[in-house]
């Protein structure tokens, strides 16, 4: 039974982690660390700082802010407690501080803990060298202010790299007549086109479409809820508590 503390435990992701990790048979959440009062403690103790944490912990999950993450990493290194970090936006210097903790304990930092998203990207990259053309359709709610999505950009880059490594070159675009500009989407390199759909109601969805003579392969990922991160965090916890060292992303753990 892993004994876990959640830093940023009053935040949106922290609350989800407190609720969902606590429901797993192999984990118990003993403390929520946050300067703010959590809406729900889910049976754990509320502390305002990592300094107050007891030593009988197996791991810390941190979904707080970059500054706090650095303090958490130092504490974990000192007390030999594994660390899984979901906070984003670390500066280069903050990242170095976090990586340093990996010399003493298991530390995993990831931007995306969704196992489905990570596998989607991997499968797209694995399949890309075997198909003539690849396009991406990503669909999000209409409050999203950027296009294409960061995930689509990252997927396109992995697809492009996999094709380049295999010596696969996308033939030139045969489309010649455009009645409307923009119809063919954005070219993310090597002819990998990205199409961004924005509609109210939608959550976060992505399809990678691969086509060759006579057949098509589609890899679709649907994110319905942030609780989709729980599985990936649990996987990272298992790894960090059994392996010393710093690790970026959960792709290698799958």
């Amino acid at each position: 039974m892993l004994r876990i503390a959640i830093v940023g435990g009053a935040g949106r992701m922290g609350q989800i982690m407190a609720e969902c990790l606590g429901e797993r048979p192999d984990m118990t959440v003993v403390a929520l660390v946050d300067p703010n009062e959590p809406r729900d403690c889910f049976g754990a103790q509320h502390l305002t700082s990592v300094q107050e944490l007891a030593r009988e912990l197996d791991a810390v999950v941190d979904f707080s802010t970059p500054d706090t993450v650095v303090a958490t990493a130092a504490w974990c290194a000192d007390h030999h407690v594994a660390l899984v970090i979901g906070a984003t936006g670390l500066s280069a210097q903050q990242r170095i501080a976090v990586e340093a903790a990996g010399e003493h304990v298991g530390v995993i930092l990831a931007a995306n803990f969704s196992i489905g998203a990570v596998l989607s990207e991997r499968f797209a990259a694995m399949a890309a060298p075997y198909f003539e053309r690849v396009e991406i359709v990503e669909l999000h709610h209409d409050r999203k202010v950027d296009a294409p999505s960061g995930t689509a950009m990252a997927s396109a880059e992995r697809i492009r790299a996999a094709r380049a490594a295999a010596g696969r070159v996308t033939p030139p675009e045969p489309t010649e007549r455009f009645s409307l500009e923009g119809a063919r989407g954005a070219d993310a390199g090597d002819g990998v086109r990205i199409h961004s759909v924005r509609l109210p109601g939608l959550l976060a969805h992505q399809e990678v479409l691969l086509g060759s003579t006579g057949e098509g392969l589609t890899i679709r990922h649907d994110s319905y809820d942030r609780r989709s991160f729980v599985g990936g965090v649990a996987l990272a916890l298992e790894h960090a508590t059994t392996h010393t060292g710093f690790h970026f992303g959960i792709d290698d753990l799958l």
Copy 2:
């Protein structure tokens, strides 16, 4: 039992009509009219010109060229035989000649005889006033030289008109940051975006996606084979043999 002749019977669509209309229990194909020898006559007689047609016909289906269509229309008007035309590219003058035949017999001219495509467009227009935003994703094989497809342009126009008639205005685009140009597709008016996917393997597919708070409606049409026109031609034949007058499109017959 309708007795039918097919003009342009040696062409690709003519051969499909000869085979598939002939399989229907309520029709018999008695003649294929074409200057070229048909690959298969499917039990019908081969004639080289409409002038050779016997009078005991109920209807003519014409998938030939504009010039021939005008001659066919004149013959049908003279001999009181219904006419269904699938040939495209008629000039204004040729169209007038064809419409004139409708004063004597039933004449139906249509660009698209696919019942699924026609219903898709109708449903999209019916639903459009009730949703906040609408986008179209059309997917075709990579030999298609134009984008967006003509069908997508026509669908977008009907959607726009239906929304305008209902006083529905699409709110301004919230997307602000574009890492790549073209990601949001082509704006076909009133914020109806069209995204054109081109991949080998694909045939002809279109999705109209409608979104509102908490829900989405998708109307998808897949064209796998030109034989999908047979149902619409049969419907047009039923109508043309029972109603005098010129009719454009099969939408009103459904």
Copy 3:
């Protein structure tokens, strides 16, 4: 500006209605009626019974229990206030009481206020007579205890009725060899097959697939959130405040 009270305002749907109807420019929510304290009043007054309601109301929205609905209907009839009911499970007698209120004011009772769901069902029924076969795939989260879903059963019945009315008969099932029982789903009559997928992560989704030679039409509805009911309730409010009489369902209002 419609002045609205929400009965059952402390319940899950009541809270959503209070929040979302209140955000519309043409409506203001003045009171939440519920024996329980609402988590949020969204600026409205909290009352414990309809008897306490002031007369200057335009309409009442009731998402409470059958017993309360009957009392609400009596109050609305007496005070000439329109009524929209989303509560389910009324007995025959309770339904009669509710319908009686329709002699004095506009009353709309509906099981499903999702405009997308209602249109999906309508389009499926409209298209069904024109296709050779129809199947339904409905996909829900894995906590759903019944299969097929009530919506799928209702859709199948409307499809069957539309085909019967058009004299369309589904040809006998050609499948002969079953390596596993149940693969072809449930037969809901006239060969309309229903397939129920149950997976964690999913919300509520339904696809009606219609097929004929060479083409397919798919009508898909995705429910992501109960806020999808707000549009339909607003539509019902518009109608009930302008038309006396009882109405079941919102289909006719679209």
Copy 4:
């Protein structure tokens, strides 16, 4: 430039191979072997038996019948020519004879040369241990006489095996109330449900749907045309002409 002969070259797959392999820049089809006259020779020589083949061949592709395949394998072993076999229905003894040829030359026997289908199955098996539940929806034209499809059965078995190997157990089915039998599809073991849709118009399509809390991953394969086998055959030819030994399937070559 690989010099290739096609046994069964007058058959449907043989004709596709003759046309499509011949269009590749790295291959030339020099002979079609078939007792029947091929409809089109695509510039190759027509022979009636493998005995007539010249020695300057690099490889033989055999899409004929089991008996012929055995003779082809013997000839290839004797003349040191690589062999790729797409014929199905070999008896155990015929298979032994074919495998024996692999002691002398490269021999690849496969039931499915579609790269997309092979990758789909592999990805489904790779992802299966990470998700709570998995279901398969396979969709085929309505002339298919068996259900579920052989591909779906094979996919389900690989998914089951991958989950078992990872110690993943599917929780018991929560569905309790069935208004119609068969709605939940066929159980292919470990709760992997298969749903078989049969509609005219459809070709051959399969979706593997994987679900966990808050997210879903879908792997879809669409077969539009038998020419989808060409890529896999070309891959097998590359391998067989460079590696001695018998190989079943193309999965390991990807």
